[in-house]
Symmetry: C2
Amino acid sequence: MNKDKIQEQNTLCRSRILGIKDTTDVLSGKWKIFILGSLLVMGKMRFMELLNTIDGIGRKMLAKELDDLEINGLISRTELKTKPLTVVYELTELGKTLKNLINEVIEWGEKYRDHSLKQFHNP
Amino acid sequence: MNKDKIQEQNTLCRSRILGIKDTTDVLSGKWKIFILGSLLVMGKMRFMELLNTIDGIGRKMLAKELDDLEINGLISRTELKTKPLTVVYELTELGKTLKNLINEVIEWGEKYRDHSLKQFHNP
DNA sequence: CAGGATCCTTTACGATACTG
DNA sequence: CAGTATCGTAAAGGATCCTG
């Protein structure tokens, strides 16, 4: 019945929800966290390496997500002036600040994959 | 040039990538993490409370995401047999194991919201 | 090799009205 | 109140071909 307490809790909740929004805005889309996770483990990677490592992604989506991530300063893109063009991507310092978050995602998945198995892509 | 090393690293990468997939399968969709975050802060919440707390979500999506989360055992749904029906949602034990992950998401957003401001929902 | 352009399909998402 | 039903739009995603 303490309405002040409820109000206070609601304000706290909204503020934290904003944190979630800020993060998910940057990580929006199905593939960004996969790209970041790959770069976190592998260091520098080329376009084709990412395409082969991340199961299910296509060229178009990979290109788009890489664009988004570069615009937001999470990864860097470097062209090496070789005969057939070579491009390497890697995490920036800002991108590396996501290390803990990504590791949490990975570890939760590894720990609890047997508990909750349903995907929602079924008929 | 050490192909074994590269191969080994690639295997490690794929295994970790799988962890990401397991987690994102369960957290798929735009709103699940908002619902979980709200319940983490607020404890038990009713349908309308969630609808009012999570900015931008609609009834349809809220209902669907709550369904998904319940199916995967992350939240519980309890009907109180009151005259106008009352339903409360809360995190299950399994749902509470996401606490660290969600806190990482919240904290990263709070820390780095000024670094990367672009959203991708613009013309 | 690293992507852009194009076309097309599917899914996600949203607004509103309605029901037990 | 707690949802479902219905309809409609926008975005995601995929296949293929093309270019520096």
